[in-house]
């Protein structure tokens, strides 16, 4: 469960995030929807402790990420925008490295990697070096290493970027499974179909601020539009960044 209140962050003159507040409960998928540069990544980085907010408060399962950075990191599984892998290590070794950094014991870790390999369909390449992996294979490894320690809360920054249809479907299926198991899932995206297909709660961010929030039906109602796409354009007041 994530509770964010009045979050603000500037980089010099640029106000990246302005007075953002929302709650992402367990057992639900929360989507941050917004055009590129709206402040989604900055918000997530503050949640996963790599950036410090200028003001406002964040509580993750009741803990402040900046006072309890290590505890919060243990509770989080993060697939950031950067998903570089170590190309001279195999997929399994990449995942194992992160598992060990989480302090997992060897036997438990190996069992968990086999489990994730099956869930995400990585059996064919799990023991291959990641040099030359396709985008889809890389994202699967990045997700597996992010959730190897079975975190309660999962944050994903534009997870379907550059994925083909099959991988996207597999990923959506996995996120719905996590939700069913009672996890708190937060993902950012600029693709409407994604939030429509997945999210219980949608937060539309534009220019660092929350433009609207609610489920799909509520958003349609608020905007008075017939489709989610129209509602989105209507709510953020521009088509900029939507199509990229």
């Amino acid at each position: 469960m994530i509770e964010v209140k009045n979050l603000t962050k500037s980089f010099g003159e640029v106000k990246a995030v302005r007075d953002v507040s929302f709650t992402a409960p367990d057992g639900k998928i929360t989507g941050l929807l917004g055009p590129n540069g709206a402040g989604k990544t900055t918000t997530l980085r503050m949640l996963y402790t790599l950036l410090e907010p200028d003001s406002g408060s964040i509580l993750i399962d009741g803990l402040n990420p900046h006072e309890h950075a290590l505890e919060v990191k243990r509770k989080l599984g993060v697939v950031p925008d950067s998903r570089g892998l170590y190309t001279r290590l195999s997929a399994r070794e990449n995942i194992r490295y992160f598992g060990k950094l989480h302090g997992m014991a060897a036997a438990e870790l190996d069992a968990r990697i086999d489990e994730l390999s099956e869930i995400l369909g990585m059996q064919k390449f799990i023991d291959r070096r990641t040099e030359g992996f396709s985008q889809g294979q890389r994202v699967k490894v990045a997700i597996a290493r992010a959730v190897v320690h079975s975190p309660q809360t999962i944050l994903l920054d534009e997870p379907t970027n550059g994925l083909d249809v099959m991988t996207t479907r597999a990923l959506r299926h996995y996120l719905l499974e996590l939700k069913k198991a009672g996890h708190c899932v937060v993902l950012s995206t600029h693709i409407m179909q994604e939030v429509a297909a997945l999210c219980d709660h949608i937060i539309i961010i534009a220019d660092g601020q929350i433009a609207a929030a609610g489920n799909a039906g509520e958003l349609l109602q608020q905007s008075g539009c017939e489709t989610l796409e129209d509602a989105f354009v209507n709510l953020i007041g521009t088509e900029e960044g939507l199509l990229s």
Binding site: Y86, R88, L101
Partner: protein, 392 residues
């Protein structure tokens, strides 16, 4: 497992799989110094002995003016050739190395008891000509003093009057210390080893992580940043130390192949010497790694980092070159200066000198101390968002 140990293990494993690292840090790097040394000295020894032993072929102009000198030269094994028409031009054109010319008034001056002049035409700026012209000059001097002595004796004067002073050199150098002169650039090669050996990993672990966009995911793991940096620094130091170790071993094994007889001295690195060198140089590996890591942290990409590194290899050269050009007596204060202390200590070691134990401690202590300060700076850098996200 502790976080830093996990990071250390992964970095070492990953880099052992990198063929470039194996080749540059562990094969070419360590072999470069000893092979260069042996190659250079073998070539030098060959060339020198060739010129010393070969019969001296000498073009002489005006042979008819000094028949006695000609006889003397032939007795000394000189093969006399006809001189080219214009000796100066021939030497300038590099057709001849050395030409001897006897002026027409030679016998006239000789008979009058004046100094008779002979001319050696040579281009002294040409390196290998030195041996030939020196041999010729020695022959001419020997002839000159032989004639001088017999002239004095004819007049009933003791030739000893000509040399009121006789210089006797009593050489205090030992075999080891003479050999040490040959190995004077060993410290430099070892320093380079420490820098080059850790270079690739230092870049890979910092700028490389940024470039392949793996730094951010890494830092989201619940491990304090200083532990991540410590693991990376130790892995870098490990490779630097390994590279240095292999260089010392390569020297130990290859130095006996030096053409010792020709150089008039035998060179060897004994096991205790090797051990001493390693003790001296290992703190350097840590200092070099911390320094390289800081430098690479500022770079956004492998290429950028690499271009900084080129400049870095000049740093370990500075004290070595200074000592090569102006050798100084080892003193205690030098031990407090990293780089300089290693240079001086290794020099003393290969000269077979006794060095006070406190020097080792002082040199190791100051180098490690500076290394730790740099390591803390490196770790602090990783707490700044600018460094983490600058690769984007």
């Amino acid at each position: 497992m502790r976080g830093w140990l996990t990071v250390f293990n992964k970095e070492v494993k990953e880099n052992f799989r990198d063929r470039r690292v194996i080749i540059t840090s562990l094969i070419v790097g360590p072999l470069f110094g000893p092979v260069l040394l042996i190659g250079m000295f073998t070539l030098m020894a060959d060339k020198t002995s060739e010129r010393m032993e070969k019969a001296l072929e000498l073009p002489i102009a005006g042979q008819q003016h000094a028949p006695n000198l000609m006889t003397y030269l032939i007795q000394q094994g000189v093969e006399i050739k006809a001189a080219p028409a214009d000796p100066e031009a021939a030497v300038k054109a590099k057709d001849e190395d050395v030409v001897l010319r006897i002026p027409a008034d030679f016998s006239e001056r000789w008979n009058e008891g004046q100094r008779a002049i002979v001319e050696v035409i040579v281009d002294e700026s040409r390196n290998h000509v030195g041996v030939t012209s020196q041999r010729l000059r020695q022959l001419l001097h020997a002839y000159s003093s032989q004639i001088g002595i017999s002239r004095l004796q004819l007049r009933g004067v003791s030739p000893q009057l000509l040399t009121p002073i006789m210089v006797k050199t009593i050489d205090q150098s030992t075999l080891t210390s003479r050999a040490a002169r040959l190995l004077s650039f060993l410290p430099y090669i070892l320093m380079i080893g420490a820098f080059v050996g850790g270079m690739h990993l230092a870049i890979d672990a910092t700028a490389g992580e940024k470039e392949r966009r793996s730094l951010e995911p890494l830092l989201i793991n619940p491990v304090p940043r200083w532990q991540i940096m410590a693991g990376k620094l130790m892995a870098t130091s490990f490779f630097a130390a390994l590279s240095v170790f292999l260089t010392v071993v390569a020297f130990r094994l290859l130095v006996p192949f030096l053409p010792a007889d020709l150089l008039g001295t035998s060179v060897s690195i004994t096991n205790p010497m090797m051990l001493g060198i390693l003790v001296v140089i290992l703190p350097m590996a840590i200092l070099a790694s911390a320094f390289l890591t800081i430098l690479a942290s500022f770079a956004k990409s492998f290429r950028e980092a690499n271009s900084y590194m080129g400049l870095v290899t000049i740093i370990p050269m500075l004290p070595s070159f200074y000592l090569m050009i102006s050798p100084v007596k080892a003193e205690t204060w030098m031990m407090a200066v990293p780089l300089l202390s290693q240079n001086v200590l290794i020099h003393e070691l290969i000269r077979g000198e006794q060095v006070p134990l406190s020097w080792y401690t002082l040199a190791g202590g100051t180098t490690l101390g500076l290394g730790l300060v740099l390591a803390v700076i490196a770790a602090t850098l990783y707490n700044r968002p600018r460094v983490i996200f600058s690769g984007e």
